[in-house]
């Protein structure tokens, strides 16, 4: 529990990027020249400290691998005692490494990608801010502090989605992300309140210590609220609508925030609170269902989008679906949820940066129907992208294979039906990822005229290479050398249940399905010529292009009824937020519009309402008198 040696630097981990953000954002123009490099430096330093801490942690015996550092006593009023305290254990450790290392690589990449942007100083400031907030989120030792980080990463992500404000679509996307996330945040704040009501504390240790005393009903309620929060941050059904629009942001942002780290905060929240979910079966089941639905929604959307980033976003939804799903399976799944989260963080970041590199060469065109046969022109990008591709569809020995295979196996341990479902989803993954590379790197050139594809500069390709290596080896490294299972077990617990067939059967079946999917994709998009104008396609394709009517449904259910009324809200704000956001806000705005008419402006009517209130008060008192 003490903080020997390196661990006394725990707070520095967060302080560095925070200081970077402060300097960059308040430093003004004078930091324009060296600012970005400072941003990179802070995160890299944090990464180094992180690695040192990993070594320090490995040196300790397993049961002592949880270090708490109380920075200062934050709030202490009556029964609410909250310290500004950081907790480093095996779970936080892996997140710290993911955030700092992937973060560092993406910072470096951005040096090249944003080279020509006038506001790059601000951009790096926001990125640093995000890293700081995310680290706070995973290092907090109580829910309230976690909430601070939670809001912080949200804030950073809105700022970055809307970074190119001159694009109306970007501003709208930022607003949409913000408001949908508010819904999730309600879940979190209510959950924390409920936790505080039930356990009289918000510190992880104390809460989990006394879960046994709480009624299952309460725990289920807490679990569901936490799930709502997770769904908001991790773009899970039914709060998934914002992630696809979030691709309006610069590509490094999509890679760092909307693929590798922030969107996995929901998974972290669930795994961190696993004690609660273990005790609340129904909540856990809900998690599984939500995960499963999202796996398929994401996969289908990913199969239909022609915008390379949105297609990747769909796949991100689907992959996070896998993690949430695994987290819902209980002790048999927690570890693999985190395992997949790590591998996915690396290879998906690689894929996004690869896509960014392609766009960089194609004058920022995102339409895959305008790509084609780039494999010869962008060799490094192509090779690294292939590594990510093989990783995500789960071909051994690439990273994704190990983690996804474990989740599928865990699914079968629970129930054959959901197991089969996950295998099918894996097949769809194979299909849409093959489609992506086929349209991008193979087939014929379908470029706009005046586009001269070229390889990106070193500063961009080096991170790609590093991430590609990661996508190739990380799985094996974690599993065999780092034996992640025994590493995480003290935190998450681990269980295994017998399955009808030996493990290799599942592996083979999965591989066969995936390869079938891949072949279909290849035949459809590499052999046949790809039309430049998207064909009408099947009903499913059309539905998927519209994000499976995610917005449309909300629209029909909520917006239409209160459409006219929602004007009240958006009087001065023509670019209203679409989806249920308008609906939600609109219906409130409607009530608001009605209520404000009660403010007639006549002093006497005010007096009347006061007298009415007075009598109300008097009656209330006299009637309820005890």
């Amino acid at each position: 529990m003490t903080e020997p040696g390196i661990f006394s630097l725990l707070w520095v981990l967060i302080a560095l990027p925070l200081a970077g953000a402060a300097i960059l954002l308040f430093g003004g123009r004078r930091t324009d020249r060296w600012g970005p490099y400072l941003g990179v430096l802070t995160v890299c330093t944090s990464a180094v400290i992180g690695v040192l801490m990993l070594l320090g942690l490995m040196a300790l015996p397993a049961e002592e691998r949880s270090i708490t550092q109380t920075v200062y006593s934050w709030i202490a009023v009556g029964s609410l005692q909250v310290d500004f305290a950081l907790q480093l254990d095996q779970l936080s450790m892996v997140f710290v490494l993911l955030i700092t290392i992937v973060g560092a690589l993406i910072h470096i990449y951005s040096l090249g990608y944003m080279a020509h942007d006038p506001d790059r100083r601000k951009f790096f400031g926001y990125l640093n801010l995000f890293v700081a907030a995310m680290l706070l989120l995973v290092l907090a030792n109580n829910y309230l502090l976690l909430y601070v980080g939670w809001e912080g990463v949200g804030l950073a992500s809105y700022l970055l989605i809307g970074f190119w404000q001159y694009k109306p679509s970007a501003a709208a996307a930022a607003k949409k992300a913000f408001i949908i996330n508010r819904v999730g945040d309600v879940g979190l704040s209510l959950a924390i309140m409920l936790i505080f009501v039930t356990f009289g504390s918000v510190t992880f240790g104390e809460v989990f210590g006394q879960v046994g005393e709480a009624s299952e009903g309460t725990l289920t309620a807490i679990g569901l609220l936490l799930l709502l929060a997770a769904a908001g941050k991790s773009a899970q059904f039914p709060l998934q609508a914002w992630l696809l629009d979030a691709m309006e942001g610069p590509t490094p942002v999509s890679a760092l925030i909307h693929a590798a780290t922030m969107v996995t905060a929901g998974v972290y929240l669930i795994v961190r609170s696993h004690v609660i979910f273990d005790a609340a079966v129904w909540a856990a089941t809900a998690v599984v269902v939500v995960g499963l639905i999202t796996i398929f929604m994401g996969a289908i959307i990913g199969s239909a989008k022609d915008d390379i980033k949105k297609s990747l976003a769909g796949s991100t939804m689907s992959q996070i679906g896998y993690m949430v799903f695994a987290a819902g399976l209980g002790p048999i799944g927690y570890i693999f949820a985190i395992f997949h989260l790590l591998t996915h963080g690396v290879f998906k970041a690689g894929l996004f940066l690869g896509a960014g590199s392609v766009m960089h060469g194609m004058n920022d065109d995102v339409n895959m129907r305008r790509y084609g046969t780039l494999k010869g022109l962008m060799v490094i990008t192509f090779v690294t992208f292939m590594a990510g591709y093989l990783a995500i569809i789960g071909i051994p020995p690439f990273a994704g294979f190990w983690s996804k295979d474990e989740i599928i196996h865990a699914a079968f341990e629970r129930n054959a039906l959901i197991g089969v479902a996950t295998i099918l989803a894996a097949g769809i993954t194979g299909f849409y990822m093959t489609r992506m590379i086929a349209m991008t790197f193979f087939g014929k050139a379908r470029w706009e005229e005046g586009v001269h594809p070229h390889e990106s500069p070193k500063v961009m390709t080096i991170p790609l290479i590093i991430l590609a290596i990661g996508s190739t080896l990380l799985g094996m490294a974690l599993l065999f050398w780092g034996n992640i299972e025994s590493w995480l077990e003290p935190v998450t617990g681990f269980a295994s249940e017998p399955t009808p067939f030996p493990t290799w059967v599942y592996i083979v079946v999965t591989l066969i399905v995936v390869i079938i999917g891949a072949i279909i994709g290849w035949v459809m998009y590499a052999r046949r010529p790809v039309p430049i104008e998207a064909p009408r396609g099947s009903w499913l394709t059309r539905a998927a292009r519209k994000d499976l009517y995610g917005d449309a449904v909300n629209d029909a259910l909520v917006v239409r009824p209160s459409f006219a009324l929602s004007k009240a809200l958006t009087i001065f704000d023509a670019r209203g937020v679409d989806g249920f956001v308008n609906g939600l806000a609109g219906s409130v705005g409607a009530i608001s519009g009605r209520l404000r008419r009660t403010q007639t402006g006549f002093a006497r009517s005010y007096a009347l309402s006061m007298v009415g209130g007075a009598l109300l008060v008097a009656l209330a008192l006299v009637l309820v008198q005890s």
């Binding site: 006549f602 002093a603 006497r604 007096a607 007298v611």
Partner: protein, 99 residues
Amino acid sequence: MNPANYVVLAAILFSLGAIGVLVRRNAIIVFMSVELMLNAANLAFVAFARMNGNLDGQVVAFFVMVVAAAEVVVGLAIIVTIFRTRKSASVDEPNLLKY
């Protein structure tokens, strides 16, 4: 006679004052009604002082009179200003601030 009756009378006066505030349109009359309410309170204080057999109520009455006087001055000042601006003492006419 039973001082409780005075309390009832005070209540009646208070209610009359309240009604006045609600139904009259002229600021000065509205204001007079408020003063009536204050004086109703005074009456109640004095009556209760009698019932409770101590002087607190009467002391309060003195203070209330004085405070009421101060209130009259401030109130008249405001009403006169409005009256000069709008050429009318109706409390319904100043109605720019609403919703």
